[in-house]
C-alpha cells in the first residue's frame, strides 16, 4: 500500500475519533442474556430431534405421503439485498473464482464452455448459463444482454426485501420468492417458472407467470403462454452450477428438501417412520465437488436409505427394501 494511502487512512481515523463505546453495564447485561440463550440452543441441538406432533399425526394416516415442494426457507430473514454480490460456483474456463465480489456496474460474461453462480443475498442466487452476459445495475437489478439466467429466491417479497428484477430489452421480470429462468435469444425472451411466481413488466402491462408455466415475448410484442415440466432435462445446466449445500450436522430431511428443490421434484417417503427418521438423523461429511446425483448416491446409503425417481417424484425407501 502506498504511503499516501496510509496517510489518508490515518488522517481520516484521527479526524473522526474512536467509535462510541457501549456502556459496560449494557454490554454485561446483554451478554448474560444472550449467553443463556446460546447455552440453551446448544443443549437443544444436542438433544435428539423431534418431529412436530401435528405433522406426524397427520402423516400417520397415510402409508405413502407427499411433502411436496416445500420452500427451503428456514435460513434466516431476507436481507434487503445489502450483501455483497459474490461468486458462489463456477464451471468451465470462466475468469471468475468462487469468493470473488462483484461491484455494482460489473459486467459479467460467461464463456461458451462454462457458467457462473452468484449470490445476491443470503436467500437468493442467480446462475448464469454459458454464453451469457449480464450487467449488475443495482444490487436488485440485473440486465440480461444475452444468454440465460436462473434465479433462485427462497423468500417472499416484502417491504423490507427488494425483489430481484431481471431487465431485458423485451421486458422486465421481477421475482416474488421463486425459481425461474429467463432466456434471451435474438428476437425472443422466454420466462419459465419452476416455483412461486414472477411479475412481468411488458410495455405498459404487468403480467404474471406462475409455477409450471412459461411465457414468451417476441420482438413484435406478441405474448405466448404454455406449460412446462419443472423436472425436465432442459433444467440440467442449473445443476452444474448448484452452490453445494454444507451438509455437515444437517438432518437428512433438509438435504433431501434441498435436492428436490434443485431438481424440481416432489419428495415422498415410503412411510411416516422413515420421514421421522430423516428428520432426526444428522449427516456427517461433505458433498463438495459432487453432482446432485452423486450427492444422493453418497449420502443416502450412509443413512440406511435409498431412492427412486419416477414421474417427477423422488421417493425415499429403506435401503433393505
Amino acid at each position: 500500500m502506498k504511503d499516501r494511502d496510509k496517510d489518508a487512512i490515518e488522517k481520516l481515523i484521527r479526524l473522526t475519533g474512536p467509535r462510541p463505546a457501549v456502556p459496560d453495564e449494557t454490554a454485561q447485561r446483554v451478554k448474560e442474556a444472550v449467553h443463556q440463550h446460546w447455552r440453551e440452543s446448544v443443549e437443544d441441538r444436542r438433544r435428539p430431534r423431534r418431529i412436530r406432533a401435528g405433522f406426524a399425526m397427520a402423516a400417520a394416516a397415510a402409508i405413502l405421503f407427499t411433502i411436496g415442494l416445500v420452500a427451503w426457507n428456514n435460513l434466516g430473514p431476507l436481507s434487503g439485498n445489502q450483501d455483497p454480490v459474490v461468486v458462489l460456483a463456477v464451471s468451465g474456463s470462466t475468469q471468475w473464482n468462487v469468493g470473488d465480489h462483484l461491484d455494482t456496474g460489473a459486467l459479467v460474461t460467461t464463456p461458451e464452455d462454462g457458467g457462473l453462480a452468484i449470490g445476491t443475498g443470503p436467500l437468493q442466487s442467480v446462475r448464469l448459463d454459458s454464453g451469457t452476459t449480464v450487467r449488475l445495475l443495482t444490487p436488485d437489478t440485473l440486465a440480461l444482454d444475452q444468454g440465460a439466467v436462473y434465479v433462485d429466491s427462497r423468500g417472499s417479497g416484502g417491504d423490507e426485501a427488494p425483489d430481484l428484477t431481471i431487465r431485458t430489452s423485451l421486458g422486465d421480470f421481477r421475482e416474488i420468492g421463486t425459481q425461474f429462468e429467463i432466456r434471451l435469444s435474438e428476437d425472443t425472451v422466454r420466462a419459465r417458472v419452476r416455483e412461486g411466481r414472477i411479475a412481468v413488466q411488458h410495455n405498459e402491462n404487468e403480467l404474471e407467470v406462475v409455477a409450471g408455466h412459461e411465457m414468451e415475448i417476441n420482438y413484435r410484442g406478441e405474448v405466448r403462454r404454455g406449460e412446462i415440466d419443472p423436472a425436465s432435462h432442459e433444467w440440467g445446466w442449473i445443476g452444474e452450477l448448484t452452490p453445494m449445500m454444507e451438509i455437515e450436522g444437517r438432518p437428512v430431511l433438509e438435504f433431501l428438501e434441498w435436492i428436490v428443490r434443485e431438481r424440481g421434484l416432489q419428495l415422498q417417503f415410503e412411510d411416516p417412520a422413515l420421514y421421522s427418521s430423516a428428520g432426526e438423523t444428522d449427516i456427517s461429511g461433505s458433498i463438495d465437488g459432487m453432482s446432485l446425483d452423486q450427492a444422493l448416491e453418497a449420502v443416502l446409503p450412509t443413512c440406511g436409505m435409498t431412492y427412486r425417481i419416477h414421474n417427477g417424484t423422488l421417493t425415499v425407501l429403506r435401503a433393505n427394501d
Partner: protein, 202 residues
C-alpha cells in the same frame, strides 16, 4: 466464502465458550451502534434490539453458510428486529436512508470530497463522515478495527499491538497492512466509490 466466520460459527454450534465470547465481543458493539443509528439514538431500544438480534441469529446459526460476512448477516436480523420493535409500539418505523443501506444516495456525499484537504464544510458533514468511518470500522474483523484504532488514535506501537494480539511483530505489521486495505475498500464501497482512498485522495 467467509471461512473465518464459518469456523467461528461452527465452534459456537459446538458449544465452545471462547467462541461465544469472541462472537459477542466482536459483534455486539457494532450491532448496538447499527441499531442506535436507526432508532433515533435511543439507547434502551438499541439494547433491546441488539439483544433480540443476537438471540434470533443464534437460533438460526446452523443456517449460516458464509456467503455473506457474519456482521452483514447479523445486520439483516437487526433490520427485522428494529421493524418489529416499532411495530410492537404501534409506531411506523423511521425511514432512514443511510448510505450503507442505499448506495444510490451516496451522491449526497459528493460535497465531502475536500474533507481531508480543507476540513468538513459543516458539522453535519463531519458527523456523517464520522458515522461512515465508524460503520466501515465496525464491518472489519474486530482485530483489524482495533489495530487501526490503537495505532492511529492511541499511538500504540506495532510491537505493543503484536503483544495485545498475541502475534509476532512481523505478523502485526502484516495485519495492519491488511486492515488498512480492508478499511480502504470497505469505506470506498460504503460511499459508492465516490470517496476513494486510493492514491491518498478522498
Amino acid at each position: 466464502m467467509n471461512f473465518e466466520n464459518r469456523r467461528l460459527v461452527k465452534q459456537m454450534l459446538a458449544g465452545e465458550e471462547r467462541a461465544f465470547d469472541r462472537f459477542f465481543d466482536e459483534y455486539f458493539p457494532g450491532l448496538y451502534r447499527f441499531a442506535m443509528t436507526r432508532m433515533d439514538g435511543n439507547p434502551d431500544g438499541a439494547e433491546e434490539v441488539a439483544q433480540a438480534t443476537l438471540c434470533a441469529a443464534i437460533s438460526k446459526l446452523a443456517t449460516y453458510r458464509g456467503e455473506a460476512a457474519l456482521f452483514t448477516w447479523l445486520c439483516t436480523f437487526c433490520r427485522h428486529e428494529i421493524s418489529a420493535w416499532y411495530r410492537r409500539r404501534d409506531r411506523p418505523g423511521k425511514k432512514i436512508d443511510l448510505v450503507e443501506d442505499s448506495p444510490e444516495v451516496a451522491g449526497a456525499l459528493d460535497s465531502l470530497r475536500a474533507v481531508l484537504a480543507d476540513g468538513p464544510e459543516s458539522r453535519l458533514e463531519q458527523m456523517e463522515l464520522t458515522r461512515l468511518v465508524h460503520v466501515a470500522l465496525d464491518r472489519l474483523p474486530g482485530r483489524y478495527a482495533n489495530a487501526l484504532e490503537w495505532k492511529y488514535l492511541e499511538g500504540v506501537s506495532v510491537r505493543e499491538i503484536a503483544q495485545r494480539l498475541d502475534l509476532s511483530t512481523k505478523a502485526a505489521e502484516s495485519l495492519l497492512t491488511r486492515a488498512r486495505g480492508a478499511f480502504r475498500d470497505g469505506f470506498s464501497s460504503l460511499t459508492g466509490n465516490r470517496l476513494t482512498l486510493r492514491g491518498g485522495t478522498i
